[in-house]
Amino acid sequence: MVPDTLPLLVRGPGEPMAVRDGRLVLAAEYVTHVEGLRRQLPDAACIINLCEDRYRFTVGFGAALACGLPTLLPPNPLPETLHTIREAWPGSVVLADKPALNIDSMVVSLESLSAIPARLPEISRHGLAAVLFTSGSTGPSMPQRKTWGALVEGTHLNRPHYLGATAGPCAVVSTVPAQHMYGLETTVMPSLHGPVTAHSARPFYPADVLAALQEAPSPRILVSTPVHLRALVNSGLAFPSVSRILSATAPIDTALAAKVERLFGGELIEIYGCTEVGSMASRRAAVGERWRFFHGFDISRQDGVTWVDAPHLTEAVRLPDQLEFAADGSFMLAGRDADLIKVGGKRGSLTDVNRLLTAVPGVEDAVAFRVDEDVDDARLAALFVSATIDANALRASLRQSLDPAFIPRPMLRVAALPRSAAGKLSRAAVLELLRETLASARGD
């Protein structure tokens, strides 16, 4: 008999679920913080949680759940993204770490919350808990709805892969935002429905990551992405031992994975997932292993397209990547949906970038493209035609609506795009024009 509700957390009151400012935060204190914030929340239809402090985020998430409200998770901090989401979801209250000039938000101030002993909230398993958005640009981004039951089931499914076979108490430090599915699944949810003590920071520079790891009690897990892992390897810093490192959002090459393992003295597990599904497969990248799906996923293939299904998904999901399977069920990644772009691990749509580029007033024609289709995670390039605006003005305009990672670089003004008589652009002609324009800019 499956109960209709699931508790907000399954931790004992004395278990540490976070480390913040060098101090462990126990589950009992977290529950009082959630109750305190719950009492402060005004009437709302939904919560938008922008907290970068992971513990404040988790308190805000818990308070929303306790009120039966979904939490919306913007894919980037651009004002236009927030505006678009608020228009589509009326009655929202924004939670933030600190006041912001141009956003009407409520600051999560832990100091202002009275320590009211509270009963552990029970949350409806079918209630909408989180809404994530998949596009990196602010084009029509697809909301991904997750019920509380789905999030909890996903957490159990992922646990042996995230935490390792022994999967006991551990501390997690992550460079990934809680607003991202990968961050939500590896730090927030495992601190509520797993044995994890989540470090409250989102460290950015290598020295920040070092400081967070030094505050995190052993055993430690580091959850990060190739961009950050490369910086850590090249930082020249010595790190405390980390028993497990997770990498996701973009492919990591074998050589870098091996260096990461040597740097931390632990195994690097590469995770394959997407916002629609969450995480679904893993491999040991340093030894060039093939991928294996997690237990519990049903895989089917139609016309070279792979579909996945699992109990915690509302429907089967079509994967945007091409998978090549071996007889034992393991697979390699062979290529991806041409529209899907990744830059610095962030996901976007090439069609959206092109649409936004050509929509800028003054742009008569434009094309954004990948320079090297075999290289993952690299920036787009673009060529544009305009009588009135230059690249700087175009960049300034794009910054309103596009995550900086997706703003093409180089982005060069040209006299005309090399369209055929039928108006089509060939990749070869575009690349050639890019090469010529760069060469003449260099004065070659």
Partner: protein, 93 residues
């Protein structure tokens, strides 16, 4: 007249090299022009690459926890001053 100091020019060259900025030369980066958003239009991925290059070349580790760092990265001049002052600090022992 806002010309670059020797170290500013050196740092500007590092930025251009490490980020492979197309069509830009180190000497073209005005010392007080914004590096992020406007001006050079760099983003957070670039900030990380620059931080690693600075750590490798000058032994200075940047920290985001520092309110400083936001000011430090405002322009070439502030970045150069920050790196030069940390670099000149005498080592203990």
């Amino acid at each position: 007249m806002n010309s670059q100091t020797g170290f500013e020019r050196e740092l500007a060259d590092v930025i251009v090299e490490v980020l492979a900025l197309p069509g830009t030369r180190g000497e073209d980066i005005a010392p007080d022009a914004p590096l992020f958003g406007d001006g050079l239009g760099l983003d957070s991925i670039d900030a990380l690459e620059i931080a690693v290059a600075i750590a490798q070349r000058y032994g200075v580790q940047l920290r985001a926890e520092d309110e400083e760092t936001k000011r430090v990265f405002a322009c070439l001049r502030s970045l150069a001053q920050h790196v030069e002052s940390r670099r000149a600090a005498p080592k203990a022992g």
